[in-house]
Amino acid sequence: MTVMDPLVAMHRAEAAVSVELETPGMTLNIGPQHPSTHGVLRLVAQVDGERVTQVQPVIGYMHRGYEKLAEVRTYAQITTLVNRIDWVSGFANEIPYIRAVEKLAGIEPTPRAQFIRLILTELARISSHLVFMSSYPLELGAPTPLMHALRERERVLDLIESVTGGRFHPNFNRVGGVKPAAGGGSSTKKQTQDLPQGFLQGTRAAMGEVGAVCDDLEELVTGNELIQARTIGVGVIPADVALSYGMSGGNLRASGVDFDLRKHEDILPYADLDFDIPLGRNGDCYDRYVVRLQEIRQAARIVQQAIDGLPSGPLQAKVPRILKVPAGEIYVRAENPKGEMGYYVISQGGKVPYRVKIRSASFSNLSILPWVLEGALVPDLVAIMGSLDFVLGDVDR
């Protein structure tokens, strides 16, 4: 699985600038405020010239105590917290949480609600990956893909907003179904609101545009020799190391491990849809980039199919007015755009959970930094860090 192709070996050899002079090391403090740390991550790097000898990530600058806050919030209120964990894919965060509560309470959501959840999850995945597509070339110094990718992300966010009322924090999932919290006016407010007119058509059109921007990005970024020079063979994470650090999502699949929770878990009706899981071969930065680009295309494919197969029916299952979840505990996980996101919910009966433990993808993905950055050059440090696609809110929670 980790056979190195000659191209990679060549690039590695080129990257290996021998440091022969004995020079004292220097401590380079990167962050918490630094253009490439995506928020407030701090890296204490020991550098010898431009070569990083050791890295110590310092996290916690964005700790908001969501697990503790969840202990004094009702189940409905917690949705407003969880969609703020990984804010670039807010909708996808709500799914595993709400499914955990539903399973614990023994409530089955309606099929239409499940399909709408699926469509919006994939839209959130597209928007999250487009953020990566925009920020990663920027980290390598190319400023233009940023705007091209964000342009299409804006389209996707508009779609999410037209349904849920929120761009980043939809708060659209209810136990047993979906429902926008926004009322459009007095007459219909109390009815459960379905998709607004034109949404399905608009989504279809937007998926075409997303495909077009993927073509653009392939020409602008993927095929660019300078990008290839900067990313191929850089930050190689072999499959076994990736697994031992508990990585997930695109980072794991770039290392060639065929693991996607959409194929393994049944919390959303993915089984009815046909899609591929892009896999990388070498686990370098370039593979992580390409895997995500392909995932955008696959997500667009999923959305198209889900629109075709969208069942009609009610949006909300019958739920008691005051939701009391029976005592018990459950762990539900889902494929978040960043990787495996799971919630361990413990209920002692009552309106408020006893404990909600959040397993977020970025935290585990970030933990490999000291391993993978050892011996990298300072420019590669930025390239590798960016390729892991983490969000600090998802790391610190």
Binding site: E50, P137, G141, P143, T144, H148, N224, A229, V378, P379
Partner: protein
Amino acid sequence: MNFWLELLLKLALILAVMLPGALVVIFGELKISAHMQSRIGPYFAGGRYGWAQPLADGLKFMQKEDLVPAAADSMVFRLAPYIVLMGTLATYVIIPFGPDLVVENLDLGLFYLLAVSSLTTLGVLMAGWSSGNKYSMIGGLRAAAQLIAYELPLVLAAVAVAVQAGTLSLNGIVASQAETVFTIGGFDVALPFVLKGQIIGFLIFVTAGLAELSRIPFDMPIAESELTMGYLTEYSGLRFTMFFLGEYAGMVAMAAIVSTLFLGGYYLPFVDADLLNVVGPLVLVAKVGLMCFLFIWIRWTFPRLREDQLQTLAWRWLIPAALVNIMLTGIAKVVL
């Protein structure tokens, strides 16, 4: 005329060319980059198209506090922007705008040019070293390492031009590009060097020139995402403005040099030699604009290379190619 008066006049002339040139290029970069990214770009300052944006930016910078970090070597820190600006200014002296429109027609023009243009790197190194900031220092050192990598291909590419032209004077180089190569239907056709076999030299010179300007793909000394702002990290206010202006003035100068060496400079076919003193500057400005657009275009398309990759590029590819280029030029010169 009095020597000092003449000097002062010439200096004023250079500034009158350099400052508007830099401002126009800054505005061009703002607008072109915006449209390449499907944005509108500057819009408000100075009416509909935001033409006054560079001036507004300059005014804003002037109001900023001029900070000198406590850890900085304050004298060197204060001096560095002037050195950078000086190095750029000095190149303007010998750029010919017309057969007689040149501040100083040096016989050793090309030599002088290549010598003073590396002065800016000294200023950058001073800035990086004196800032008392680790990012600045890495940026400064990268600039120095970069100088070693690109200076040789730059010089070698220019040598081939000098060999072909048979002179080091910039006016002479332009004049030799105005020589008739062949005649079609009674028209004397003269070709610029880029079409007279110096295409490899042109590519090498532009690549190395981009590295000299520290523009993407070779902006490692600044490398915003890695080193925050490289050697500029600690600068603010007027001093930052000087670096900023210097950068763009340098870009104009580099474009003018490339135009002079490879694109025929102020020369336009079918224009009378006497008239060239009038249209020459316009021709040069058009060519400079074209080159600047190319620089901007590249800047907003490509990512940044790595420092060691620049060294590889320079020593493994550019320098051998430049040497071969000189050889071929020499052979052609002797045979033809």
